[in-house]
């Protein structure tokens, strides 16, 4: 279980995340919502050790996440996708996924010698990556360069790369942004399946979609937690309506997607 207490992230004089507490149980889908600039992505960056944290504690099970170097977060069980798909353009789709398995593999420079041990490990990793590619219907493009794929496919690949390491906590930053209607159900099914195996914390602006899959959501504004609860309770929460959903003719762009 993820337990964050008093997490604070500062960029110079700007407090992007302000003493935020967050609990995410072992399984299920949890959403982070809020207007643009609320600090959602910064929080995900802090939890995944991408950006430095000014204060607070983050524990995943027994592990003190903030004491880990950035690359060790994934070994501790935290994997993530990015708001704008941060893929590796010089690698193929399959190789992108294999990088997602880097921390689960051991082969070092002996890979150059193609030793039996390194070959066995490589084959096992490829089999694992190929399963995820088939689940997300990306099998046909496994040898393509990410830049040659439509943006929706790139977003799918970004999520697939996070999923492949079978994390304990999966952090997804707007995974549905840029996906077509045809692509969204595939990802939705994948996230639902992931939520049964691990904790999924996702940032998403599609409130209706979240109502269908998220068990709980945390609403943020100006770096602070505004409210927390089930999606249904958030829809009627006056604070959430004020800062995010809006009402009547003053509905925000985000809420209009509902």
């Amino acid at each position: 279980m993820l337990e964050a207490r008093g997490v604070t992230v500062r960029f110079g004089g700007l407090v992007a995340v302000n003493a935020l507490d967050l609990d995410v149980p072992d399984r299920g889908i949890f959403a982070l919502v809020g207007p643009n600039g609320a600090g959602k992505t910064t929080l995900i960056n802090a939890l995944s050790r991408v950006c430095p944290v000014a204060g607070g504690t983050v524990r995943l099970g027994d592990v003190d996440v903030l004491s880990l170097p950035p690359h060790a977060a994934v070994s501790a069980g935290i994997a993530r996708s990015f708001q704008r798909a941060e893929l590796f353009p010089s690698l193929t789709v399959l190789e992108n996924l294999l990088v997602g398995l880097h921390s689960t593999m051991q082969t070092g420079l002996s890979g150059a010698l193609m030793t039996p041990a390194s070959r066995t490990e490589e084959q096992a990793a490829r089999a694992r990556a190929e399963r995820v590619l088939r689940d997300l219907d990306l099998w046909e493009v496994r040898n393509a360069a990410p830049a040659d794929m439509p943006y929706g496919h790139q977003k799918l690949l970004d999520v697939a790369r996070a999923l492949v390491s079978e994390p304990a906590l999966l952090l997804l930053d707007e995974p549905f942004a840029g996906l077509t209607e045809a692509e969204a159900p595939r990802l939705l099914a994948c996230i639902r399946a992931a939520g049964e195996r691990c904790a999924v914390l996702m940032i998403e602006h599609h409130f209706e979609l979240l109502e269908g899959i998220a068990q709980r959501m945390t609403v943020m504004d100006f770096g602070q937690k505004v409210s927390e609860g089930t999606p249904a309770s958030m829809r009627t929460d006056p604070e959430v309506i004020r800062c995010y959903l809006g009402t009547g003719r003053h509905r925000t762009a985000a809420a209009s997607a509902c």
Binding site: E86, L87, V99
Partner: protein
């Protein structure tokens, strides 16, 4: 198709000394030129691993070659060490020295790293020139006749095969590395350090490792070069050499072993063709780098890829069905 081409090239390279017998005395010169090319191609591959794969610029690769060459030469001259051990000792020395560059590389990138590596190359060159007692200064070091596990390897033909086998081994090793975990990590840190770290790649350690592996290969090439030439002197490893290796990678197209070898072919050909006029080869190669960067940023590799894509996209003539359709 590709496999057949590679086998054909390998067979041609293997029988080349036999074909060169027709040249009479001139075969010694041509065998040396081609053997030297094989050694330079290893350096180009090593630099491509660093620049093209892991995205770390180096303008001082000849410093590693020099360390390998001088280590092999000194050990050979003083302790009569033969080729394999001399080569490995040279590679190890260069790999250890690469830590000097590897650690700054964890904090620097782009032009700044380029300047540091340039300084490294110049420093090694100057040390070789000034440290007379060890390196022989501008007089250089003459090596004993090379031996391979006790067998005389001092003939041009034998050294030709030593260089050819070394190149093939280097290609296989780098190919193996780039297709497995560490090679992918190199590419990942080049493309996005943030995403690489998020996937569990230790960025700083991987950058240092790229320097070590690249230096090891360049040092090994230096060791072979020392035995091939039979003599090492500072002028072989100056800034000009570093720029030639840089040109090989840029012209060949970064991130590709065939590209690095193709670049080495072009650069070595220009260097030898323009050898009679001092400075002409560098001027030509400088111009070629500018043209490649401006008009063909993918180098030879990019040109071939563009041609292949165009050919694939060209509509087939009426009545012809493409096999891949």
């Amino acid at each position: 198709m590709q496999r057949r081409l590679v086998i054909a090239i390998l067979v041609a390279c293997a029988v080349l000394p036999i074909a060169f017998q027709a040249l009479g005395q001139r075969q010694v010169y041509w065998l040396f030129v081609i053997s030297e090319f094989y050694v330079f191609a290893i350096v180009a591959i090593s630099l491509d691993l660093l620049m093209g794969r892991s995205g770390q610029i180096s303008l001082g690769q000849s410093g590693f070659v020099a360390l390998g060459a001088y280590t092999a030469a000194i050990l050979n001259q003083r302790f009569n060490v033969d080729l394999p051990l001399g080569m490995l000792a040279g590679a190890a020395t260069a790999a250890v020295a690469s830590l000097v560059l590897g650690f700054p590389a964890t904090r620097l990138r782009g032009h700044y790293l380029g300047i540091v590596t340039l300084g490294f190359g110049i420093a090694i060159d100057q040390i070789a020139l000034k440290w007379d007692a060890l390196t022989g200064g501008d007089q250089g070091i003459h090596l004993h006749r090379p031996a391979l596990f006790g067998v005389d390897a001092g003939t041009p033909v034998r050294m030709y095969y030593v260089a050819l086998v070394a190149l093939v081994v280097a290609v296989l090793l780098v190919r193996g590395l780039t297709q497995t975990r560490i090679g992918r990590a190199f590419a990942a840190i080049k493309d996005s350090e943030v995403a690489a770290a998020a996937m569990g790649v230790p960025v700083a350690r991987t950058k240092v490792l790229a320097f070590i592996v690249s230096a090891f290969l360049a040092g090994a090439a230096g060791g072979i070069y020392a035995f091939l030439a039979g003599f090492v002197a500072p002028e072989d490893f100056g800034i000009e050499s570093s720029l030639l290796f840089f040109a090989m990678v840029v012209i060949g197209g970064m991130g590709s072993i065939p590209g690095a070898i193709g670049g080495a072919v072009v650069v070595d050909a220009v260097k030898n063709a323009a050898a009679t006029v001092s400075g002409l080869s560098l001027a030509l190669l400088g111009g070629m780098i500018v043209l490649v960067v401006l008009f063909f940023p993918g180098g030879l590799k990019g040109l071939l890829r563009t041609r292949r894509i165009r050919r694939e996209r060209r509509p087939a003539p009426k009545g012809v069905v493409r096999q891949d359709a």
